[in-house]
Every structure is written in C-alpha cells, then in structure tokens.
C-alpha cells in the first residue's frame, strides 16, 4: 500500500520540479518567488518563521492557560538541554527504539522478501501484518503489559508492533513488483533462481525496501512515545508527563517539540542517504 504512494509522491515532486523552473523566468516581478526557487532553504526558513510567529501570537493571546509562547518554550528547551535532562531522557528513550528498529529491520526485510517470493508465505503471513497495520495500536499497547510487564521488553515490543508491519509490507510489495522485464532478461540469459533473486530482484527492490525501513523508523518513533506515555513514563514520556503534572507547560511543549525535531531530522538524514546512495536518479539538480 505504502510503496506506491511513496513512489507517487516522488514522481509528483519530479513533475513539480520542472513546473517551478518554467514559472521563474516569466515571473520577473516576483523577486521573492525567484529567491525561493533558487534557494529552497530560504522558503523553508520563512515557513518555519511564520509558524513560530503564529505560535508566539497564540501563546500571548493566550488561547489556553496551558499554552506557552514560543519564546518560553525555546527558553525551556535550552534550559533542559543545558541541565542535561533532555540528553538523559533521550538516553533512555532511544534504547527501546534502537533495539526495536534493529529487530524489525532484520526480521521485516527477511519476511518481506520471503513473502514476495513465495505465494505460500504470503497467504500465511500477509493477513497478520495487514491487520496489524490497520489496528489501533494505542489500544493494544497497554495489553502488552499484561504479558511482558513494564520494562524494556514491553517498550521494545511496542516499537516492533508499529514498525514491523510497515517494513514487512513494503518489502513484500517491492519484491513482488520487481521489474518483470529485468526478471525476463535474467531468465533469457539462463540465470538460476538464486541468481535471479540475488542479482536482479533484491537489487531492484532495495530502494522501496529502504523506503519501508525509513517509514518503519517513523512508526517506531510513534511506538516508543506511545509506550512511554502508556506503559511507564521514562525518557521523553517521563518529561512530558512530569512537566504536565506540575503545570510546567513550556517544558512539556519543549519535550514534545524535541521529539518531533529528532524524528524529523533522523528521517530527513535517512532520506538524504537514500537519495544519494540508492536512487541517484532522484537527486535534484
């Protein structure tokens, strides 16, 4: 399901790319538009700046007693960074995340490839993951504690529950949709089945498998935060619940924003890596 959307969005961004190039010579009066087109970073910064300005205004109105201004939140963020509480929190939040993603990555890719190659495995396993992917995880995570308690195992499992289905289903779709003409070519060159898999199918599927890993990591971030909010408050989840309980709303928002920031930066870095290494043809000139 996700693989085509992924491809679609990249195709559409390619389509949008030239469209911008067509516009800019015509719009000589629009200096700002040209600036944005030439330096995409500027437009991103301006968009962020406008968002923070809106936040600051909303905080000063205020829209709620529990809604801090942007500057208060920034101050809280810097304070928490300086006193080490944020770093400590990530130390414990990242543990289940990294273990869970490592397990999901290995198991998910292998399962996905096996399912893509064998109809039998697909019938056996695919429904489980399709169901898991559409299940409301926030309702299922507290159930983990009944069996696995409240420790690291439970949190790692929460990460796996969210990340694994995405990775498996993406891998399986990628392998199943491997370019048929390449497969036919391999067959006409009398390649063995093993050669067909290792030399043609997996390399051809790898960009989409990697995209699945990236989406799995995004889901893993959701999983670890859900676990920390719903199972036991540790790490970032602890910062959020603690500061909420003592009405330190600026600190609470700073913790929430920090996890969004970390997750966005990690995913952006992975995407950059993906484009550079796996899909050089997608690199924007």
């Amino acid at each position: 399901m996700i693989a085509p959307t992924q491809v679609d969005s990249q195709v559409s961004s390619q389509v949008n790319g030239p469209a911008r190039a067509v516009h800019s010579p015509a719009g000589r009066g629009l200096g700002l538009g040209r600036l944005f087109a030439r330096h995409p970073v500027v437009s991103r910064l301006v968009s962020l700046g406008l968002f923070f300005l809106a936040w600051e205004i909303a905080g000063r109105v205020p829209i709620s007693y529990a809604f801090p201004t942007f500057t208060d939140t920034l101050y809280a963020f810097v304070t928490m960074l300086a006193d080490g509480s944020l770093v400590m929190a990530y130390g414990s939040t990242l543990q289940p995340l990294i273990i869970g993603i490592a397990i999901s990555g290995v198991v998910g890719v292998v399962l996905g490839i096996v399912m893509g190659l064998s109809r039998m495995a697909e019938w056996l396993v695919a429904p489980v993951f399709v169901v898991l992917q559409s299940a409301p995880m926030a309702a299922l995570i507290p159930l983990i504690t009944f069996v696995y308690g409240i420790g690291l195992v439970a949190k790692t499992l929460a990460v796996i529950m969210l990340a694994l289905p995405v990775i498996v289903l993406n891998g399986y779709k990628a392998v199943r949709n491997a370019n048929p003409s390449l497969v036919d070519m391999c067959r006409s060159f009398q390649g063995t089945r093993l050669q067909r898999i290792t030399k043609i199918i997996i390399p051809d599927a790898s960009p989409v498998i990697f995209a699945g890993l990236r989406l799995g990591l995004a889901a893993g971030f959701i999983g670890v935060i859900l676990a920390e909010l719903l199972i036991t408050p540790t790490g970032i989840g602890d910062l959020i619940t603690y500061h909420r309980s003592v009405a330190n709303y600026a600190e609470m928002y700073a913790a929430v924003v920090s996890i969004i920031l970390v997750s966005t930066l990690t995913l952006a870095a992975l995407e950059a890596f993906e484009i550079r290494v796996l899909r050089p043809e997608k690199r924007r000139g």
């Binding site: 709620s64 529990a66 709303y249």
Partner: protein
C-alpha cells in the same frame, strides 16, 4: 507523513468534541457539569451518593469521567466543565488559572509497605531502592518527606504507576519496598499475612482530592455550590459514624449497578478502614488544609516558594464552606 496525518486527525476530533461540548453547554446552562479525573469505582461511592443528595436538593448535576486529573482540570479551566475533582495547586500557581478549590474531599492515604524478610523499620531503608507512583506524585512526596524526617537516604526511587501494579510487584518479589493504597494494603494482608510490614506514617495530611471551580462560576452559582458542599459534608459525617451505610446507599441510589460481586463485597471493609482512620475530612478542609498542603506540595515540587509566603486565598475560596459550616456546625 503518517505521523502528521494522525496528529491532524486527533486535532480534528478534539475540535469536534470541543464544539459539541460548547454547544451542549449553551443549551443547558443551568446544569452543573462535574469532571472526574478517574472512572467511577468503589472508592467514589460516597461522593456519588452526595451528588445524588444534592440532586434531591434541586441541583442539576451531570458527571463526566475523564482519563486523568490533569484533563479534568483543563476541562474546568477551558470552561467545558464547571467543577473538577483533583488538587490543581500547580495549575493555579504556575499559570495563574482562575480556579479555586472550595472543598477537600480526601487526604492522601498511602501505606509504605516493605518485605519483612529484608526490612523492618524506616532506618533499614537507608541506601535501599524504593518504588513510587510517578515523578512529582504524592507518593513520591510522602517518601521524600519520610526520608527527610528519618534522616535516611534512598539509593534510588523508581516509578511504577498504579498502586495495584506496585502491590503485585511487592507480592511477586519484584520490589522490596514501595508505597500502596488502602486496597493494596488489604490485599497484602489477605494474600500474604505477616510477610509485609506497613511502616508508620505520621503527620502527613495533604489533600488528595478536592473540588475546584472557576472563580466566576463560584460567584454566580453560590446557592448550588452551597448545596453540593452541604450534601458532601453531611454524607462524610454519616459515613464516618456508620461506614456500613454505603452499601445501602448504593442500593438506594442504584450506583455502579454493574459492579462485580467480588468488588461489591469490598465496599464494607474499604469504608470501614477509611472511617477508622478518619480519612473523610469532616470540616471540608479550608484554610487549615491549605496550610498543610503548602508544606507538603512545596516538597513534592507541585508548588514553588516558601510555604509561609503562600496565601490561602490564592488557592482556595472558602466562602461557601464557611456558610455551610455555620449552618451544620463544625466537628
């Protein structure tokens, strides 16, 4: 992408709920909407009875059950509920929310429990690990207070939310020292008599739950508030005199009709024990309770500043309580 989408969805849902709540509030302005931070259970039977009695006095009460006390407090601050149940000291002090407490419902009732095999007294806990509910919680504050009073130092405080979870962990031997509620204490005594010791806890008298409301609401609805305060105070006094009566009230007002038999049998012992321990504030707290809370919650981190410098009127509106006490007398 997935994350942004789910955030958007929940945002839309929250907006829809907000609009629905506002619409309902406009339609029925006379209703007193009370927000609970917990689901109704055996522990709230006496309060539910008091609400039924206030209804008999002509107060139209609607009770909503929310996931946590924080959310109940936010509902009151946001005007989607009139009266909340909880102890919103931090909210009042740190964000200057215009809400005031007006009646103390209960004081913190917790029991430090230790595995008798390892520890016998407070002093034995010096340098040992203990488990409490969460960071900044009342249970943590109690243990820190005792640490200070006993001149000991815990090696580590770990957090296990839920008294029943901590009781289970104690029974299974996963933790050796923790702090549990009355139900947990009874469970320890019935499941493993003599295996655990309840350490003495004296002079901890902080508000666990209080009723609070917007100052504007308290001004405008003084008559309704008086009726609620009176209903609760008289109910509290009756429970203290005769705890067994709660079972009768449950039948009379048809409260918690779906309660399983095992829990229904807990009603008697639960209220018996609380009445014996004088857990129901018979005079509604007020200024005395506020002073105790200042001392306790500055220690727990909910409040900041010197306890002596905090003013009762910044947190409490005792006018209704004073009127009712003048009518029914103090005990």
């Amino acid at each position: 992408m997935f994350k942004g989408l789910s955030g958007l969805k929940s945002g839309v849902a929250a907006l829809a709920v907000g609009v629905a709540l506002m619409a309902s509030s406009a339609a029925e302005a006379a209703k007193v909407r009370i927000a609970f931070g917990d689901i109704a259970s055996v522990e709230s039977l006496h309060l539910l009875t008091a609400f039924e009695r206030a209804k008999e006095q002509g107060v139209d009460i609607e009770v909503t059950y929310l996931k946590s006390e924080d959310i109940a407090a936010q509902a009151v601050v946001g005007g989607q509920a009139d009266i909340g149940v909880g102890g919103p000291y931090a909210l009042v002090q740190k964000v200057k929310a215009p809400i005031r407490m007006f009646l103390q419902l209960s004081t913190l009732r917790f029991y430090p429990a230790v595995n008798a095999q390892f520890y016998k007294t407070w002093k034995d806990l010096n340098g040992q690990e203990i488990a409490v509910h969460s960071r900044g919680s009342g249970t943590e504050a109690i243990m820190k207070l005792m640490e200070e009073r006993q001149g000991i130092k815990f090696s580590k405080i770990s957090y296990i939310p839920g008294s029943e979870v901590r009781t289970g962990a104690l029974l299974q031997g996963n933790v050796k020292a923790t702090i549990v509620d009355a139900a947990g204490r009874r469970l320890l005594e019935t499941q493993a008599p003599g295996k655990f010791i309840i350490l003495p806890l004296e002079g901890v008298n902080a508000t666990d739950e209080a009723l609070f409301a917007n100052t504007a609401f308290l001004e405008k609805n003084a008559a309704d508030v008086d009726k609620i305060v009176e209903a609760i105070l008289t109910t509290w006094r009756e429970v203290t005199a005769n705890p067994a009566v709660v079972t009768e009230w449950r039948a009379k007002y048809k409260l918690l009709p779906d309660l399983p038999a095992s829990q229904a049998s807990e009603i008697g012992p639960y209220f018996e024990e609380l009445a014996k321990g004088k857990a129901f504030p018979l005079n509604g707290g007020g200024a005395t309770a506020a002073k105790d809370d200042f001392a306790f919650y500055t220690l727990s981190g909910q409040l900041t500043g010197e306890p002596a410098s905090l003013k009762v009127e910044d947190f409490w509106d005792t006018r209704s309580l004073d009127r009712v006490l003048a009518k029914v007398g103090t005990k």
